[in-house]
Symmetry: C2
Subunit: 579 residues, 2 copies
């Protein structure tokens, strides 16, 4: 196939769009792949649509290879099934809601669990029909509070979402493993650099859950990776290595001290060292008071204990306490509860007043701490867990730091930024129970199938590829999804060069190569080269000055430039394209 | 590719869905191609999605072949561009409107003229960029008052819409002709029976306009076709052959008569014949009073004259008077205007009171009529056009009847019913003017390009194929878009037959044939045959009882059944599939 730049619907821009902050957004707009229609809503211009479709095809092939069956649900959906699962309300402002001419409530689907589940319920009734994996590649809608970065986080976007339905937990694990392998093949084919992160199960309930994060400095998600081995996890999912329990016998007694003006950890450590105690912040115990609101209940105070050298990471704490909501205790709470002495709160005072205390996993029996004594200007030194107080349980709440030990002896943790490109998730029976999907099992008894939920941000992948593969001159697509495989530029005005260019383009086409041919007669070679770099086809074939000597240039985008014999050029391009 | 019925996500139904009236709706639901999600909103199950995508590919190939460039606009659109063209309001209840979380008005695109036009304006500025033809295959939304017939008239549906932009009227004509030919190739490839109907330009303004109507008894549109030649037209677009003008000299004088109780044409003809006048209804002149409301103006009375043997076809009259709205005069209008004597209205009374009179083209100079004399129980006989009264113009308002003469000597007209599958339309500069698209022409002067607008109802095409190609047993797809090309059924329990079935399926797959393999072990041959007919693959290969004698059956859906040697079966199927 030959597409000529003289007629391609394209206008490249020299200036970055005013609202663009990240490279993918700037470059995809400047190179004429996408065009803004509204905040977070983009049009796909011809080059962009070609790449989007090729990404879809990679995803489709790998989904089909694991037995996934493609179908397509509407984007415009009735309210009722989303009432069944309460998501009509729970989605909040993220949901685009509308009414039809008869006043019926409808929505634009942000995700389709309800449709998949109710369709399986209607169509299948026997264990013989299972397992089944269904997927769609579909346009979805979320009214993001802050749509950003072009198609990286849009309000109308393309997703592949799939669901597995199994009659047994083992079946779910197999389906999950098949998806995990398929996702690896998809992202490997796209040449992406990514990590598979253990994830918390999030608001959706269920058990095993992993996120595929493309590594990118512009990522919104922070995750950890081990320096040795393949451990990676969301910050929320990192499990702290527990402290080592010790016997409490023989440990020095707890002693209370006057500690005027030691309301912070830093001042407390200073005071302690001035007393000759030789401690660091890690020897103190920070006692943070929060308010926890479980669904449908009144807010309740909770004490969270973390070593004094660490902050409480509210995201981690929230993930640990889901589905409850968490907020820091405010002045009003301190006023209402006089036993809370700001700067001097300790676990004993909390528990004495009926407040539960959860601690970081390092806070175990036999560990000794400097902490608040629940009175103004008073701290206690040598407060021992399991002797002077007991905790009500452990909680993952402390911040994760670069250099923390990685699990299973995989070295230490590093903190990296990434963009979520896929999520696989053992969803379980939440939706099949909500829709009362009853299936007859081998014994003629009713059983409820268990689901896996798997998503890939298809349109986002295009932005992620642009993030990971670009330089200051432009884009750089992998052969698999480039809109065209080779960009041919004739930068020599001799009739022989022009004729040779036409012939090579025809030969490449005949060999099945997708060619973008810059045939614009009045555009300078410099502009043509700049455009070729901006548009980012993996290979550019240049018929320039050296053509007079029978030579052409083959520029590998982001790589070397080869000078090769003109009569070998077509064969060389075909070889490179076929990889 | 082999798909096995044992695992295909499919459940065929023996009963028609309760809400289905037309065959395509019944069969597509029963055969598991589509599934209702909400009124006029359908899910595409695996078989349906396969056929939909194949139809899209046929459309895409032919659009690419005429140089169309594919892009994709969002479905979720901002209000502003639709304000520019006033369509935000003009669309009325057909438009799905919604607000985002910030209270911005948005809509679900029913058609994308605004997006195409504004995108071309932003990207192109010189005549050198033209002509350009852009298209998309996209999900559209219209809040139909009466969604009906499954995917024949849905509220979420797939359309191919394209627009040509030309710098000259000749260019537009060429683009129009290219689209017309492409549409013929598309519908021919799909094996559809259709007519190309001259259409009125409709509400969109502009000039040449043709509709492609698939012939179907369940069609919503009535159109005319000539018995000889290829003339076809919407009823609204039929041009009546004008009457022949004659000299008025020597014609009998007009005479008024008392005609008590002759308020209808039938009673008037009875009266005239009782007077020995020997006339038919065609000799009388019906004078219908209507109210015409031009945009932004007050309603105005209008007299419409048609030969008494014909009714006024309000749709034809409305099309003739567009963009004005037309309604029959009501009792209140007669009361308010005492010169209107119900049953005895004539052209002279109307004109004497300042009411314009438009006549059917048969009403020309020198024709003589029996008509109302504008007084109770009074008619006039021998009222001659051009002598006793003059008309203010002609109008196409009379009903079209089977047997009316066709234009250009193409025999007579027949009335048929059809389903609109395509529409091509010389739109002109309506949108380019609204968006002030200024392009520099060869002389450096600013010029406004002219547009063509072309649409195909892609998802509707699937229903139309089902309407035109089915029998009481099920569907019958053309090879080009069948979900699978051959349906293989092993209806013989011998191990040799089962083994041969597996082998043939593998060989067909290796030959590139798409196979649906009914491998369900516990389903009876009768059920398998019924399902094969219902699902409608073009060919079914049956390994039945005769397999013991080395024979298999090759059933051509809707056609003959061939008994062939088992060892020739694969080759024969391949031959048939390749056509």
């Amino acid at each position: 196939m030959i597409t000529r730049l003289s007629s391609l619907f394209l206008r490249t821009l020299r200036e970055d769009p005013a609202d663009a902050e990240v490279p993918s957004h700037k470059l995809l707009v400047r190179a004429g792949y996408i065009r803004r229609a509204a905040p977070g809503v983009y049009s796909w211009l011809p080059l962009g649509l070609r790449t989007l479709r090729k990404i879809e095809d990679v995803v489709r092939e790998e989904m089909n290879a694991i037995g996934g069956q493609e179908l397509l649900f509407p984007a415009l959906l009735p309210r009722e099934p989303y009432e069944t699962t309460q998501r009509w309300t729970e989605y909040g402002d993220d949901l685009f809601r509308l009414q039809d001419r008869r006043g019926n409530d409808m929505l634009l689907g942000p995700t389709h669990e309800e449709m998949f589940t109710s369709t399986v319920k209607d169509m299948y009734s026997s264990y013989k029909d299972f397992p089944v994996t269904l997927y769609q590649i579909q346009t979805k809608y979320r009214d993001e509070a802050r749509p950003r970065a072009g198609i990286l986080r849009g309000r109308e976007f393309v997703m592949k979402d799939s669901y597995s339905f199994d009659m047994s937990d083992q079946g779910l694990e197999d389906s999950y493993a098949a998806h995990r392998a398929a996702y690896q093949r998809i992202f490997d084919r796209l040449g992406l650099s990514y990590a598979i992160c253990r994830a918390t199960s999030g608001a959706m309930g269920g058990s095993a859950s992993e996120e595929f994060l493309a590594i990118s400095p512009n990522g919104e998600d922070t995750f950890v990776r081990a320096t040795e081995g393949d451990y990676a996890a969301n910050v929320e999912a990192v499990v702290t290595q527990p402290g080592i329990e010790k016997a409490v016998e023989g440990l020095p007694e707890a002693v209370e001290y006057d500690t005027p003006d030691a309301e912070t950890i830093a001042t407390l450590v200073d005071w302690a060292n001035s007393e000759g105690l030789d401690v660091t912040a890690a020897d103190t115990l920070k006692c943070v008071v929060v308010k926890v609101t479980a669904p449908g209940e009144e807010p309740e105070l909770l004490g969270v204990l973390v070593p004094g050298d660490r902050e409480v990471d509210m995201k981690r704490l929230e993930a640990s306490l889901e589905p409850a909501e968490v907020a820091m205790a405010e002045d009003a709470d301190f006023k209402k509860n006089p036993f809370l002495v700001r700067g001097y709160v300790g676990p004993r005072g909390l528990q004495a007043n009926g407040v539960r205390v959860l601690a970081d996993p390092r806070v175990v029996k036999g560990t000794s701490w400097i902490t608040g004594a629940d009175a103004p200007n008073r701290h206690v030194v040598g407060l021992v867990v399991g002797r002077d107080f007991d905790i009500d349980g452990h909680v993952e709440a402390a911040e994760i730091r670069e250099g923390d030990p990685a699990p299973e002896g995989q070295g230490t943790l590093t903190l990296q930024r990434g963009i979520e490109i896929g999520h696989i998730f053992q969803l379980g029976r939440k939706y099949t129970e909500a829709f009362d999907v009853q299936i007859l099992d081998e014994n003629g008894k009713r059983a409820i199938p268990t689901m896996g939920s798997y998503g890939i941000g298809v349109s986002r992948l295009m932005a992620v590829l642009a993030e990971q593969r670009h330089d200051d001159k432009g884009l750089n697509w992998p052969v698999e999804v480039a809109p065209f495989q080779v960009h041919v530029v004739v930068a020599n005005k001799d009739a022989a060069a022009i004729e040779a260019g036409d012939r090579m383009v025809a030969e490449l086409d005949a060999a099945g190569v997708e060619v973008l041919f810059d045939d614009r007669p009045k555009v300078s070679p410099g502009v043509k080269f700049k455009d070729a770099e901006l548009l980012g086809m993996p290979f550019a074939l240049i018929l320039g000055r050296a053509f007079a000597d029978g030579k052409v240039e083959l520029r590998i985008r982001g790589g070397e430039t080869l000078e090769i014999a003109a009569d070998e050029a077509v064969a060389k391009v075909v070889e490179l394209v076929r990889g």
